[in-house]
Amino acid sequence: MDYDLGADADALRQRLRDLIHAHVPADFLGACTDDPADLELCNAFCRTLAEQGLLCLAWPEEYGGGGGDVWHQTIVREEMWAHHEPRGPQYMGVNWVGPALMRHGTDAQRAKHLPPIAAGEVIWCQGFSEPEAGSDLASLRTRAVADGDGWVVTGQKVWTSYALMAQWCVLATCTDPDAPSDRRITLFLVRMDSPGIEVRPIPSMLGPHHLNEVFIDGLRVSREDVLGEVGAGWTVMRDALAYERVGIARYARCESLMQRLLEVLDDDGRWEALAPALHARWVRALVDLRVARLLAYRAVGDSSGVDPAAAAVARIVTTTCDQNVAEVLVDAAGPDALDAGADALLHGAIDDHWRYAQAATVASGTIEVQRMLVSRSVLGSSR
């Protein structure tokens, strides 16, 4: 039994921190802001990571990756999320679009799409959710109707993150409304600037770019655009969601923010003065974060691929930690907590964390859906 992440783990972590320090300003809060410079910074940083072989460190070498293992990938995920994800929306391409293409794509699709992802040159978005299909994703209704040697797609997607930033989308459609869920959905790889796609941003407490509507009217797609088999989209989506569920190392941002706030409070003598009840909450939050990290390691370390129940366990703990830490940070910060902007405490990172944490138990599948997965593994299916 051994929990060491490997001989080169510390060096990799340090290398990533040095790079971030050199390329990302201290007040950076991610790509999802009103300032387009933040997205530009992310895109430039992705190219830098790619040049250094760090963007797709854990991809196989044949696809432009670094041939690293899941632990290298874990360290990258932790360091990126901890530092407000300076890869911006590109983490989605690296984390699940690329691996889905490797598993389910054609040779031509791999040749076309993997190199730009590995080079840090393309943003993908995920067009799964619809107004009537949230947790019950398999019931989605955006229709792809056969037409000549292709299809014509009409329908609506919603909550599509980064849709205005993305060049490409994995679009989930229904090709056979009467078939059971594992045969009715087909995924298409579509360019976001195709005729028939219109994006409308949705203002939200999370900040810009997180939530958008995507209207699709008469979009033409061809056989070459199908990811996986026609009608077999659900299998690919389930795969993708399992990767996505362990994709965000929320615990790492929490640990980083707690350390930064501790140092600020300690510097002006406020740490010792916190109420004992708050100290106790702080300690419990840190212990829970350690548990979240260990459960994430368990979920990714399973050599047989991502076990959906293990991923669900990890996500339940990580997302509830994220929200609990948001409360602990705000309470410990005192009256300054709600200040936003670069001049605020931790450059506004506490306010930013609290707002985004509210969505932790909804985005990428709600905590209730995770509980369903866990209970199925313990109790068997429900009728």
Partner: protein, 307 residues
């Protein structure tokens, strides 16, 4: 990175479970409440299992074997102070105590006790008379502080806290296992309780809590053999705190999902809950454990990715 328990520890745990089930399992623990002499048979069974040869101060493998034994002892309510016996020195059993009011689980079983506070300050203990029979912690005996004894090392305190957490883990796993079987079998409103989503979610949350505790227990056992001294102590307190918190949530779920049957003496969950109480309350409350960790958070002894 290999988070799985070594096969030897797993095999040892399984053979311990077999032997202690033959002794009578949880029901034996219940009978020992009425006939305290029976506990000697538990001691003999543990000796058969080689408990006295286990050296918890040696390498990680020995420690994990001891942890596996504590886990089984928790699951089967073995009426013996397994942790206190495992961390003995020179034939003296070690109890972790609150010096303001020492109490020792199974204190009457043995003449020679050293009691240590969490800071390592130690005393010989004078075991008092058997108290009024109690449902919660039925083998707890009051004690008074005797002569000061040699300071107990921070590592021994840490080992004690960690092995106690493994015992708690075993008890909670057994309790939840019983509840899982119960909700699958018990029907109300024409269907198994396991069909009701509120029941399923309760079980999901409890099993998430246990999977987390299991991970932390293994990680902390490893850390006792891999980390710096101050980190080892902080990690041990953190594990025990987490075990106490998990126990509160998991046992509550277990009782609720069993309905009335779970309160009966004849039900394992009732026995497990009552017998775990000393580990959950002694040597101090979870709140005190949490506050003990505050300096370790500030100094970085409780390590995070960014401390």
């Amino acid at each position: 990175m290999k988070p799985a328990l070594p096969e030897d520890a797993v095999a040892y745990g399984e053979s311990a479970r077999g032997r202690l089930e033959r002794l009578g399992g949880v029901e034996f623990g219940l009978r020992a409440e009425a006939d305290r002499e029976l506990r000697k048979d538990a001691g003999a069974a543990l000796a058969d299992l080689g408990m006295l040869e286990l050296d918890v101060r040696d390498d990680l493998d020995q420690f994990l074997a001891a942890a596996a034994l504590c886990r089984v002892a928790g699951a089967l309510c073995v009426p013996w102070p397994v942790v206190e016996d495992l961390v003995r020195t020179d034939g003296q059993w070690l109890a972790l105590i609150d010096p303001a009011g020492p109490r020792v689980d199974h204190g009457d079983l043995h003449g020679e006790w050293v009691g240590a506070a969490l800071d390592g300050a130690a005393y010989r203990l004078v075991i008092g008379a058997l108290p009024h029979p109690a449902k919660l912690g039925p083998f707890l005996v009051p004690a008074t502080l005797g002569e000061p004894a040699e300071q107990v090392s921070a590592d021994d305190v840490a080992r004690h806290l960690v092995l106690g957490a493994w015992r708690i883990l075993g008890g909670l796993e057994a309790a939840l296992g019983q509840v899982v079987e119960h909700v699958k079998a018990r029907k109300q409103f024409g269907q198994a309780l396991a069909q009701f989503q509120v029941v399923r979610f309760g079980i999901a949350d409890a099993s998430v809590a246990l999977r987390g505790l299991d991970e932390l227990a293994r990680f902390t056992a490893w850390r006792l053999h891999a980390a710096e001294p101050a980190q080892r102590s902080a990690d041990a307190v953190a594990l025990r705190l987490h075990a106490v918190d998990a126990a509160r949530a998991v046992l509550r779920t277990c009782h609720q999902m069993l309905g009335a049957i779970g309160f009966c003496d004849e039900h394992d969950v009732s026995v497990i809950d009552r017998h775990l109480q000393p580990l959950l309350r002694e040597p101090c409350s979870g709140e005190s454990l949490a506050l003990r960790l505050v300096p370790a958070v500030r100094s970085g002894a409780f390590e995070t990715l960014f401390s």
